[in-house]
């Protein structure tokens, strides 16, 4: 059984991003880039499934410019067996990403596709669900636990009301939430070993993927700033301030 895992190159989660003054986007020059944290969790989960004897191969997939191969190398260093890079300089939106994954599923026939529940740059949270839709496969999003049993997976999902358990037939698409696991650290020898692993490259044309209708970004602006507040010296002062605003009785 194969597991396909999505890996997206994003601005590192610790970076305080800056909106460009001309509204054309955010400043990325010299900014630290990393693997989307949710994708790191997805890779980790795939590796654990393989280590438990339920999968034979973990394949990491990214789409984007050449430099995105850095994130594939990280995935390979963590333990993925091989990688696929769909090379494009275009902005890939979720529906097109889903179509690319679908084309790769047709090629590789994985039993599980594990994606992050959202990318921390566009915060869309769509690709897993869209891939499930066009594949007519089950989806189990926002997963905090995955248990495999033959041709089925039992997935605990983090939902607004608490924890929901679904049972899905494989093949299925699962999206990883934060509490699914804690990703391993990569060690230097693994980074060396990863250099010898294969990365196959495709273009959208080679995969016969038609880009989906796209949403046009007209401008990027900084968010409204909250007014800076004050420090109070005591609980009495705090309570008086809140009472004045009618926020406590």
């Amino acid at each position: 059984m194969k597991i396909l895992v999505g890996v997206k190159r994003v601005v590192d989660y610790n970076v305080r991003i800056q909106v460009k003054p001309d509204g054309s986007g955010i400043a990325t020059n010299g900014v630290k880039m990393s693997m989307n944290p949710f994708d790191e969790i997805a890779i980790e989960e795939a590796l654990r499934i393989k280590e438990a004897g339920h999968a034979a191969e973990v394949i990491a997939v990214t789409m984007g410019p050449k430099v995105a191969q850095e994130q594939l190398r990280t995935a390979l260093a963590m333990g993925a067996d091989r990688a696929i890079h769909v090379e494009t300089d275009d902005d890939i939106q979720p529906l097109t990403a889903a179509r690319i994954f679908k084309a790769l599923c047709d090629k590789e026939s994985p039993k599980i596709v594990l994606l992050g529940k959202q990318a921390i740059d566009d915060d869309n949270s769509q690709t897993a669900q869209m891939l499930a839709a066009i594949s007519h496969w089950p989806q189990a999003t926002f997963a905090s636990s995955i248990t495999l049993d033959g041709d089925k997976a039992t997935v605990i999902r983090e939902v607004d009301a608490g924890l929901e358990t679904l049972s899905v037939d494989l093949p299925a698409i699962i999206s990883a939430d934060l509490r699914l696991n804690e990703p391993r650290y990569v060690k230097l020898p693994d980074i060396m070993k990863a250099k010898r692993k294969t990365i196959d490259t495709f273009t959208l044309d080679e995969l016969a993927v038609e880009p989906a209708p796209a949403i046009k970004i007209l401008k990027t602006s900084p968010p409204a700033k909250r007014q800076a507040g004050i420090k109070v010296e005591s609980v009495d002062e705090l309570v008086a301030a809140l009472k004045e605003k009618g926020l406590v009785k």
């Binding site: 921390i120 869209m130 089950p138 924890l163 358990t165 899905v168 509490r179 046009k216 007014q227 309570v239």
Partner: protein
């Protein structure tokens, strides 16, 4: 004629308040009609609540035993069947809407606009990216416009409406590949709902333990507040996941948000940007939470809560 279909979120008996917030967003589109789709096993009470929201024209009720639990793989084909003739399709950006709507959009071959926070025109919207640290203005391409509504950006639409309720039978085949097993909620019954409460008392890693969280609950109960938490507090097992506030938890807009022992990471702040007044109590005077707090108090949270309880006595 252009009209919008809003997908109702409910638990079988009660319409979730996020639906009426999505209706508030729908009103700003300036279309000819606003309809609500209620998919349920026995949807009478939910459809009546939906029909009472002012500004709604028709509530379309689809009753099917398969709709007892909201399983997206089963709901999606039914909504697709209903979507014919609509120019817009909206759902709240809750875990319900986030899970369901992309599945519908992909089948219809349309992109989705997630977390609509402002309507500029029927095709142009603002939405947050990078945990709310940038806002993009986007234009939907030709065809049906599909979007989730950032509920913290919209008020609950008022009641007073009297929409028509129209029962609909659908002959769509539903897949059998996905089975609902169970839903376990993290407790907190009897306390206000985190996403609807006027006041939220929240605890972070600084609270220290599950036992210590009783002081957070104690203060919340005293002032009738809902209880929230940071990711660190949830990860550490102090409190169940459904209390998490932030980029990947709940995005809330209470009148008063009180943060105890929370440092103020950008991912946490993403969830409280729309709060009316933010109070932060932290023993570290340099904690970033103070940069957004209206009232900051440097001190030990346990001592502060004790004094607060006495003062609010």
């Amino acid at each position: 004629m252009s009209k919008v279909l809003v997908i109702a979120e409910h638990d079988g008996t009660t319409l979730n308040g996020s639906t009426a917030r999505a209706v508030s967003c729908a009103k700003e589109l300036g279309l000819d009609a606003i309809d609500i789709a209620v998919l349920a096993s026995d949807g009478c009470s939910v459809s009546e609540q939906a029909a009472a929201i002012s500004g709604v024209n028709t509530v379309i009720l689809v009753e099917n035993p398969a709709n007892e639990h909201a399983v997206s793989a089963l709901l999606a084909p039914q909504i697709e069947a209903l979507s014919d003739g609509y120019s817009h399709l909206l759902a709240p950006s809750t875990t319900f809407g986030k899970d369901l709507l992309p599945r519908i959009a992909a089948h219809l071959g349309a992109p989705q606009i997630s977390d609509i926070m402002r309507v500029e025109s029927a095709r142009v919207f603002d939405r947050p990216v990078y945990a709310g640290n940038a806002i993009i203005t986007v234009e939907a391409p030709e065809g049906i416009v599909i979007g989730t509504v950032r509920t913290a950006s919209y008020p609950v639409a008022e009641n007073g409406g009297s929409a028509t309720i129209e029962k609909r039978e659908l002959s769509v085949e539903l897949p059998s590949h996905t089975q609902f097993v169970e839903l376990s909620s993290g407790g907190g019954e009897g306390r206000p709902d985190l996403q609807a409460a006027a006041t939220v008392v929240s605890g972070g890693r600084g609270v220290g333990s599950e036992e210590n969280f009783s002081v957070i609950y104690g203060l919340a109960d005293k002032i009738g507040a809902a209880v929230g938490a940071s990711r660190a507090a949830v990860d550490a097992g102090f409190i169940p996941n459904d209390h998490q506030v932030g980029q990947t938890g709940k995005i809330i807009a209470p009148d008063l948000y009180m943060a105890f022992g929370i440092s103020g990471a950008i991912q946490h702040l993403a969830g409280i940007k729309d709060a009316g007044t933010i109070v932060a109590v932290n023993k570290d005077a340099d904690a970033p939470i103070f940069e957004v707090a209206d009232f900051g108090l440097v001190g030990d949270l346990f001592q502060v809560i004790e004094e607060l309880e006495a003062a609010l006595g």
